[in-house]
């Protein structure tokens, strides 16, 4: 035995549980136990838990209402291992060992909720009450208090969901729903040789056959489904249970939410699947509707079908004295089963006649035809029912069946147009959707000629609802019939307005149980037919999906994986302080703190420094049309470059703005290497490739991104030459044969090495590129020869002293080459290049463009990056640009800065005021090169 409501193992109950496996858990601090196979809801009911939470708005006591994904009440706070779900649906969660479950939305526990007083003020807080009441002076003042009172679960900000996996699958047919209709559709396709996926949101296949008595092919229903499951597995059908199809998207894409139960590996309890199917069969079945009567929200009111499911599958008897209230034949079976299980049953059938009444009476069931429930009696839970006829019945459970609603949400996701079927008072599939078949009771019919049987039920009985009493329509959002009346009275009479004004159907259950009843009340209130009222749109997801599950692996470090240098370990040995530059992890400096930067600058200016420049792009452009492609891509002409030489070039976007800069090396007449900025490699490759495919012959020019194959070490400083010589590079190093902006192929450790004289520091510099796995050896050898390491921050200072730009930092999306003083190609080139025409628009030619200048701060305090030079205009300060780079120059012993300033080139020599977060600075606009303007040090 596990729980007082559990029936012992004699009898045919509990097909879904394994009594040999006890599972311990706790609810609101109280230790409880269940069996393997239980859902959380089943285990709670077995333990006699009736009150599972408090309602959203009025803090009314609530109990478990259904046994499936349509559950409006049983939303619990669930912790298990590393997982925390503040809004878990107890009816779908498989019970697992050690789960800690708490009732949500109650101050204290659900049993003793100190906010329960709210319900006594219910008449003062109808629908739309916030909009009318909390407007003055500002809603914000009241928001905190309202949020504390309303809402469901609370997110624990300290919890970290482990990233779950996302899975992808392609199949011929995806069958949604593992009931008899779904099983038949899956088996037929599998036998025709198709690859089939069958999903069901419960632990086992069979659908209603697992709890309803039926005979198919001369077998008892449950036996039939077990036999067919063996057939399905033999035919190779991929069966996923505990899996809900949450959305249908374009081109037959199905999104599935799998609940984590061994052997699946759903790290946070859920796993999202994206499935593409040739065709989809929707066999999602139908769900039961509640009945409308006073206090129909009390714990102890449950859907009749759910009561049967808990009895048959989990061996849980939800009540001893049961009133089964119904509008159709389907609930009679529930009464028979409950009676057989020892409960005392009264059937209250709103219809004047049922063919099943006589059999029920013969079985000892009290059947009251032509009567219905007026009111549920009891304080915090059901103690009885008062009928319309005036009779009062004692009861601890009211099982209700207000008819059946086909589950066509997924059909609507696929843009199916539903139609209203008056016979069953529900929406059924209307238009055909290519690639989607709806079968079984999801279609709204259960007989061969598509006429619904007497088990479906018709239009809701609004007798009790019209009496201006508290009759619940939407349990999760606490919407009553009075709220709908009020909305109609205030002319929110369209179905879309009603939904938003009352929040009917807007809760996490999306109105699955309340939709039809709400429409019927609205129709009656506005004097229209239900079909004329219209419906709101069903949108995915069908059941809530946690954000962590959607984000899956893109969490934490995996959101933007960091790229690393080949020689990272060597830099760590050197004591490098690492920082992320874009997605690259690079040494910022070597030493304990940022004071190392000035020291490193000194090595480069006065001795010899070594810098890991491996992240620079090395894009090879090869072929007879390579020069023509690069001429088109670069603003600077490339085709005139001699083999063995390098040229610095700007590449523009078609808008004329500077896209990137870099150095192009011509290795051979038809072989170039483009060294673009570190963070721009992927974009530059895409840019080259786009124009290659658009304008060039693919057989005559080829692009190969070799950036990761080569490591580059830059040796820089007045004494760099003898360090490079000691590396024994197998190439002439004298300035005649290897001048600035030239390159030679040499060797390092027996492998090819490229030695290029190109400088980003303003000093004599050699960039040596070797195969990436030799990076560490090359670095160690350069260090052994006396070069001192420098990091990215020192390089940033050295290049700022020289006025060398970082594209994207010292330029923005409007900066054109003539704004940084590179006018030549604009004036001279007549052939086409990317961005050419944009350089001659009125916008490009106007005065007042922001131009690159140097800024010499007055005093010793650097002007912060982002400070605005300002001018007085009409008694107001106006920004005329901003500072893009700024630092203390160790070489000059004063601050240096670069900035973009309106008409800056014409303002050279002017002293401007700079504003930064309320602090004033002053500085003079100067040429952007602060050190060695003639470039003599490059050759020193």
């Amino acid at each position: 035995m596990s729980g007082p409501q559990r029936i012992d193992s004699s009898g045919a109950y509990g097909s879904g549980i394994d009594r040999a496996q006890r599972i311990d858990f706790s609810f609101d601090g109280e230790p409880m136990s269940g069996f393997a196979g239980d859902t959380v809801a089943a285990a709670l009911l077995a333990n006699g838990v009736r009150l599972i939470g408090r309602s959203f708005k009025y803090h009314r006591p609530r109990g478990i209402f259904t046994a499936g994904g349509e559950e409006p009440n049983a939303i619990v706070d669930l912790r298990h291992a590393q997982r925390h779900d503040p809004n878990a649906r107890a009816t779908l969660e498989p019970l697992q060992h050690g789960m800690t479950i708490r009732s949500t939305h109650a101050r204290g526990t659900a049993q003793r909720d100190t906010f329960s007083f709210v319900d006594r003020f219910a008449r003062f807080i109808p629908a739309g009450f916030y909009y009318k009441t909390f407007m003055w002076p500002r809603f914000r003042l009241y928001e905190g208090m309202i949020r504390a009172l309303a809402g469901i679960g609370r997110v624990d900000a300290s919890s970290r969901a482990p990233g779950s996996r996302q899975q992808f699958l392609n199949v011929d047919r995806c069958v949604i729903g593992g009931g008899p209709a779904g099983i038949a559709a899956a088996l037929a396709a599998a036998r025709a040789g198709k690859k089939v996926l069958l999903v069901d949101d419960h632990a086992q296949l069979g659908g209603s056959l697992r709890w309803r008595s039926a005979r198919i092919d001369d077998l008892e229903g449950i036996g039939w489904s077990a036999a067919r499951e063996r057939d399905l597995r033999a035919a190779g059908v991929h069966i996923m249970t505990q899996t809900t199809a949450v959305g249908l998207y374009d081109h037959n894409a199905v999104v599935l939410l799998e609940k984590g139960l061994p052997p699946t590996k759903c790290a946070n309890g859920e796993c999202l699947w994206q499935v593409r199917a040739q065709d989809i069969v929707l066999a999602s079945g139908a769900i039961e509707r509640p009945l409308l009567f006073e206090n129909n929200d009390k714990p102890g009111v449950m859907l009749a079908d759910a009561v049967l499911r808990y009895l048959r599958i989990y061996a849980v008897r939800c009540g001893e004295r049961v009133v089964v209230a119904t509008s159709n034949d389907s609930a009679y079976g529930v009464a028979h089963e409950l009676t057989a299980a020892g409960a005392q049953c009264v059937v209250v059938d709103m219809r004047g006649h049922s063919d099943l009444a006589a059999t029920a009476r013969a079985a000892g069931i009290d059947v009251r035809l032509g009567d219905s429930i007026d009111s549920a009696l009891g304080r915090t839970q059901v103690e009885g029912a008062r009928l319309k006829s005036g009779a009062t019945l004692a009861a601890d459970l009211i099982a209700v069946s207000g008819g059946w609603t086909p589950l066509i949400h997924l059909y609507c996701h696929a843009r199916g147009k539903p139609r209203w079927d008056d016979r069953i008072a529900a929406l059924v599939p209307g238009s055909d959707v290519p690639g989607l078949q709806v079968v079984g009771s999801a279609k709204g019919a259960d007989t061969a000629d598509d006429t619904p049987s007497a088990s479906w039920g018709g239009a809701p009985d609004l007798w009790a609802a019209s009496a201006r009493r508290r009759v619940w329509v939407d349990l999760q959002h606490d919407v009553t019939t009075k709220d709908i009346e009020l909305a109609v009275r205030e002319n929110f009479a369209s179905v879309e307005h009603l939904k938003r004004y009352t929040t009917l159907g807007m809760a996490t259950d999306q109105g699955k149980t309340s939709n039809v009843n709400g429409l019927a009340i609205l129709a009656a209130q506005t004097g229209r037919g239900i079909d004329a009222v219209g419906v709101t749109t069903f949108r995915p997801p069908f059941v809530p999906v946690s954000m962590a599950t959607i984000a899956a692996k893109s969490l934490g470090e995996l959101q933007s994986p960091v790229r690393r240098l080949a020689a990272e370990n060597v830099h760590r040995e050197e004591g490098a302080h690492f920082r992320e530059y874009g997605d690259l992890l690079r040494p910022a400096w070597y030493g304990l703190d940022a004071s190392a930067i000035a020291r490193e600058c000194g090595h480069a200016r006065n001795g010899v420094a070594v810098f890991d420049a491996s992240s620079l792009g090395k894009i090879e452009v090869i072929g007879p049309q390579a020069a023509a492609l690069l001429d088109f891509i670069f603003y600077t002409r490339i085709s005139t470059l001699a083999p063995g030489r390098l040229r610095y070039g700007l590449a523009l976007a078609e808008s004329g703005a500077i896209f990137d800069d870099g150095v192009v090396l011509r290795l051979a007449p038809e072989h170039f290497v483009v060294s673009c900025s570190s963070g721009h490699v992927a974009a530059m490759v895409a840019h080259l490739e786009e124009w290659r495919q658009d304008r060039f012959d693919l057989a005559h020019v080829f692009i190969h991104d070799a950036s990761a194959h080569w490591a580059t070490i830059a040796v820089s400083g007045p004494q760099s030459k003898h360090v490079v010589a000691s590396l024994d590079p197998g190439a002439p190093l004298d300035d005649e044969q290897l001048p600035h902006m030239a390159a030679r192929i040499g060797t390092f450790a027996g492998r090819p090495a490229r030695i290029a004289r190109v400088s980003f520091t303003g000093e004599r510099c050699y960039e040596i590129a070797v195969p990436a796995r030799l990076a560490a050896d090359l670095w160690r050898k350069a260090r052994a020869a006396g070069a001192e390491p420098i990091g990215v921050e020192a390089l940033g200072v050295l290049r700022a002293e020289k006025g060398y730009i970082f594209v994207g930092q010292d330029t923005d999306s409007e900066t054109m080459p003539h704004d940084i003083g590179v006018n030549g190609p604009r004036d001279k080139r007549r052939d086409a290049f990317v961005g050419d025409r944009s350089l001659f628009t009125p916008f490009a030619s106007r005065t007042g463009r922001r131009q690159l200048v140097g800024i010499a701060a007055s005093g010793n305090q650097p002007i912060p990056v982002g400070a605005h030079p300002v001018e007085q205009a009409n008694d107001k300060l106006r920004s005329i640009g901003y500072v893009t780079s700024s630092c203390w120059s160790p070489a000059l012993g004063r601050p240096v800065a670069l900035g973009l300033v309106e008409d800056g080139r014409n303002r050279l020599g002017e002293e401007l005021q700079f504003e930064y977060l309320g602090t004033r600075y002053s500085g003079t606009l100067v040429e952007s090169c602060f050190l060695d303007p003639t470039g003599a040090r490059l050759h020193a």
Binding site: H251, Q274, R276, Q693, D694
Partner: protein, 84 residues
């Protein structure tokens, strides 16, 4: 969640592709008017119904392709390589 048939790789999920604007636009020569250049650079048809668009199969073959499809129904009629 659409499915595009790449002429080189076969049917692929849309997340592998990157949108690249309207197909059939020709890059005007340098001596075009400002208005012609602006039309080429900035004006998008943003068509409802059948459209011809450029897409890059970025996480696949890396080729630019033209897709003829309906922006209302998401039906894909034809795809072809940009390069004949």
């Amino acid at each position: 969640m659409q499915k595009f048939p790449c002429p080189f790789c076969g049917p692929r999920a849309d997340r592998e592709f990157r949108y690249g604007g309207d197909a059939g636009k020709l890059r005007p020569p340098r001596d075009c008017t400002d208005a012609e250049w602006a039309r080429y650079r900035y004006q998008r048809a943003n068509g409802k119904g059948v459209t011809h668009e450029l897409w890059l199969h970025a996480d696949g073959c890396g080729r630019w392709i033209e897709i003829e499809r309906d922006t209302m129904t998401h039906e894909v009629f034809a795809t072809r390589s940009l390069v004949p």
